[in-house]
Subunit: 109 residues, 2 copies
DNA sequence: TTATTTAATCGTAATATTACGATAGAATAA
DNA sequence: TTATTCTATCGTAATATTACGATTAAATAA
């Protein structure tokens, strides 16, 4: 089917999965790493850096934008992509909580 | 194409993406949450808990097992699934490093 | 104005994912 | 032995994802 039964799960479970899924592709990891490490946030610079076509990268940027991890600012002919502080913090909190909810003590086998 | 150009990215980028991707489905989030919060780790109990068929859940369990997040122990007729401490720690470390590599100071727009 | 640059979107092909029922195989119970 | 229980796997259908070239649209440059 290829269609996820979203309605069967909680809002929080879906949001969690959505954020993880957005980072579930090496190109999108590379894009985020680029935005963090480089001074530039210009779309064209990302395209030059990554081994994928312009249209493919544009598609990946859109997915990251859809979940809110990044935001795009059109500046004349160019577009500047940046990490969204609020969503990054949301993701950070969510991860910490999720990670720390498991302790080795609770293991059974 | 539906095929990821894995070879164009680093091992670490691919591993990161692979781990995130494994958690990029609400059913798999629910499975992990169940394993963390319940005493049980028996496959059948997971199937009873989640709103999906036995075969679908078996498939999701396999994906989590493939990236190493969980491991399965066959105990007679039943199978016990547990979180793998080592991989969980790897994921935790990876997340922390990734999250903390961004600071709001570095934002540009 | 016309040309150029930049990035989003469209169309499309190949492959992957999600989901289920049916089946199979292994372990235990009767 | 035979029946039952449990879970993995197979086969399949519907949908999603990934990737690219071509096109479009908007802004700037010539």
């Amino acid at each position: 089917m290829g269609i996820t039964k979203t309605k069967q799960f909680t809002k929080i479970q879906n949001r969690k999965a959505e954020l993880y899924k957005a980072l579930g592709h090496p190109a999108r990891i590379a894009i985020i790493e680029f935005l963090i490490n480089q001074d530039s946030c210009v779309c064209g610079d990302i395209v030059n850096e990554l081994p994928l076509s312009q249209s493919t990268i544009s598609q990946h940027l859109k997915e990251l934008k859809n979940v809110g991890i990044i935001k795009g600012d059109i500046e004349g002919v160019k577009t500047c992509y940046c990490i969204d502080d609020k969503v990054w913090a949301e993701f950070d909190d969510m991860c910490r909580l999720f990670m720390s909810s498991y302790s080795e003590k609770s293991k059974c086998c």
